[in-house]
Symmetry: C3
């Protein structure tokens, strides 16, 4: 499907997985996201017409598990394009025994496209076969969450002057269970980058992800368990949470936990241009003192989610 | 009130019951729904101004029981007309002991019209006396659900080339407890049609509904318990669910249940032009294989709900 | 901050407390609210452009405790200005342990301004220091609820021919725990008015509020426990609930409760121009028979909430 998302093939497409994307379709998407960002902020030379391209269009937001942030981001994206949303979270028909495909076919009767979040891996892809209009995967359990990976990559490009090739990106924390780092690693594997995976013992990046990255033969991978080994050469530091409940031995958790908190001291050896990212919410992994650091990009990353989702919506509707 | 809904009398009217409607007001409503449908789909010759007639208008959706589908349908209808919605489902004031009339009078302060769904029969009609602005009944317990009957009738007319007179409509399933078939039968009774009521023993159409139909002296009624007796001559087959919990004798349920599942075999003797309908959600009453049948109209029926509700909203606001 | 809200200083300001306001900034706000009211009602000479000043703007409604009415009022206000809303009530990130400031900084990424209701006194003010865009306090526990006091004052001015100076305002009911009367009293204290506080024994206006009122040296205060003592000379009667659960002695509750129900008889000695108000919901404190009384203003008061909030939103966004 990567081919489909290049050039004119966006219109009517589903967005199911990061593997639908190519370097070209990512570039096209980011160009559109830049336009959206400029229009929302009323930047000089921006095109205010962007803010009306979804006038009279309706987006159906179908969330089978709560995700306030992702939901708000998609909703804001649609509204910023001049469109409106339908929220479907608790569904009385599902309680009566309706199938997922019937629910989605009903909701799409009212909408121009839908966003689906569902706890079952593969569910969004499976149901997309029944749909006449685009569906965007907003997370299917342990499966994919492509728009998160795209907004992360967009943030990296934006914070690092537009380029991705040649960067050194360090991912820190629990890389075993963190879905966001898996998708991002797969997406970064399309570029000539250096990826450092820094995690506590036993919480390293899964073999399957490393194989996917290696298969493209472009990214170079290095693994270790101490941030200080790699922080000085990192252009980007992508922090994720280390969850207590993942540790069988609490003493082990107490031992490593401190090494995975990013504070001013942890960044002492970092370059002044090092971009600090986090998918949020954070619970102590990044100290509040880091917020004042000019390259602390996690709130901009959050905002970029809206611009990237605006671009995706506009692209699959064929209006941008 | 039937007179009121004809010609110029729509503006400011409540919509409480199918008995508010006449053949003329239905025709007027359906002409408006056709316009809405054309505009949403950007059909040639359609009027895009329809999509802005509710600009700056606000619809209050007050749901005292969950009904995702009906709620979404009304919300999408308002949004497709360029208006916006307020959702009032869980109400902190009601918990403090506020009366229904006070709640509705407060909500209408913010809105141009309201939609009310309430579990108590007669509640919407009762509260309408307190309101300055139109209220639309979206279901009051065992009472009325007029917009559902209207969208069903609109679908019949649309699927059958615009005419209702002369059609044979077969209603199948539990006709005793199925509110939708009651209202639809009453509405169809205004026309010269043939109505077949096919239900398991003990779940037949209530006497009160049959009396209402007979009172108008136009529709012809036939009752039986086997679809095959009437399927070949049916222009429309309206399927509803047979709920296990309605049977006192489980063996009886097991015995009849199969005869009330519509699959390809059940439709073997049907005309190729026979329209298959269902209010949805379905739970096995129509096999998925029927979905590919060109006259399987249940998802179009769902979509028509939005057009009919657009028309009703626009009519009572006097903007179409 | 009172100075800040006067003249051109509104844009970008937070609205945290009634003490942010001066007589001048209140007058400015009310002039804007009048414009909003005229525009919504399509009054002669009104400016329809007002209904589009928030086009493409997004308001984030973050409610940590339910308040259907306040939420709807803000949402309708934003929608009437041509903008849209994001609803954040149940927050999956908060459950993961996110701080309030992080949540609000994330939500504001998608929005142009936010409204926050939170059960903790001082929370809105505290979190405002972290925010780049305006936040409006929609109630922080026992603390402030400035927009309620402003809509009350706007209603008084509107019902009494535009003037506040010289009026006699009687507040009735539980004045000890009723947050709305505290804020309103503080706001009224900026004017030369007479304030009558009528409450059951032990539920009188707190000393702290009376001190604040006295400090400005403009309003005259009188306290009693019988409405009939002051009703004949009241220009405004502001009724609040007397909650059973506030009484330690149930017999005492039964004894006084009747004297705090406003019915036709209680108003026998009132002037024909006396404005009757209530923040709603009511649970018996005002008999339904009073609703027909021309100066029963509580539903208009509810509606005014929308106009005042439109004015506040437009002012802090700098678009009106």
């Amino acid at each position: 499907m990567a081919m489909e998302l290049a050039t004119e093939e966006w219109k009517g497409s589903h967005v199911l997985s990061v593997s639908d994307f190519s370097v070209e379709s990512v570039a096209e998407l980011f160009a559109a996201a830049d336009k959206c960002k400029a229009a929302v902020n009323g930047a000089e030379g921006s095109d205010p017409a962007v803010l009306q391209v979804c006038k009279n269009k309706v987006l159906g937001l179908v969330f089978y598990e709560p995700s306030t942030r992702t939901n708000c981001s998609f909703a804001a994206a649609m509204q910023r394009l001049g469109g409106t949303c339908l929220q479907v979270s608790e569904n009385s028909s599902v309680k009566k025994g309706e199938t997922l495909q019937d629910t989605m076919r009903c909701i799409e009767c009212y909408c121009d496209l839908t966003v689906l979040r569902h706890p079952e891996k593969g569910s969004v892809s499976r149901v997309s076969a029944y749909l006449r209009k685009p569906v965007l995967n907003a997370g299917d359990g342990d499966g994919e969450h492509p728009t998160q990976a795209l907004l992360d990559l967009f943030t990296i490009a934006n914070e690092q002057g537009g380029k991705i090739e040649g960067l050194t990106i360090t991912m820190l924390g629990d890389l075993k269970y963190g879905r966001t780092t898996h998708s991002l690693a797969k997406l970064l594997a399309m570029y000539r980058v250096k990826l450092n995976f820094v995690s506590p013992q036993g919480l390293g990046m899964p073999e399957s992800v490393k194989k996917s990255v290696a298969a493209l033969g472009r990214a170079e991978v290095f693994e270790c368990s101490d941030l200080q080994e790699v922080v000085a050469k990192s252009d980007v530091l992508y922090v994720t949470r280390v969850q207590k409940e993942r540790f069988q031995d609490l003493a082990e958790y107490e031992r490593v936990q401190g090494s995975f908190v990013v504070d001013s001291k942890a960044l002492d050896n970092a370059m002044s241009t090092c971009t600090v990212m986090h998918p949020l919410p954070r619970v102590g992994e990044i100290a509040e003192e880091v917020d004042d650091y000019p390259n602390a990009a996690y709130f901009r990353q959050m905002e970029n989610g809206m611009y990237v989702r605006m671009a995706i919506i506009a692209k699959v509707l064929g209006v941008l």
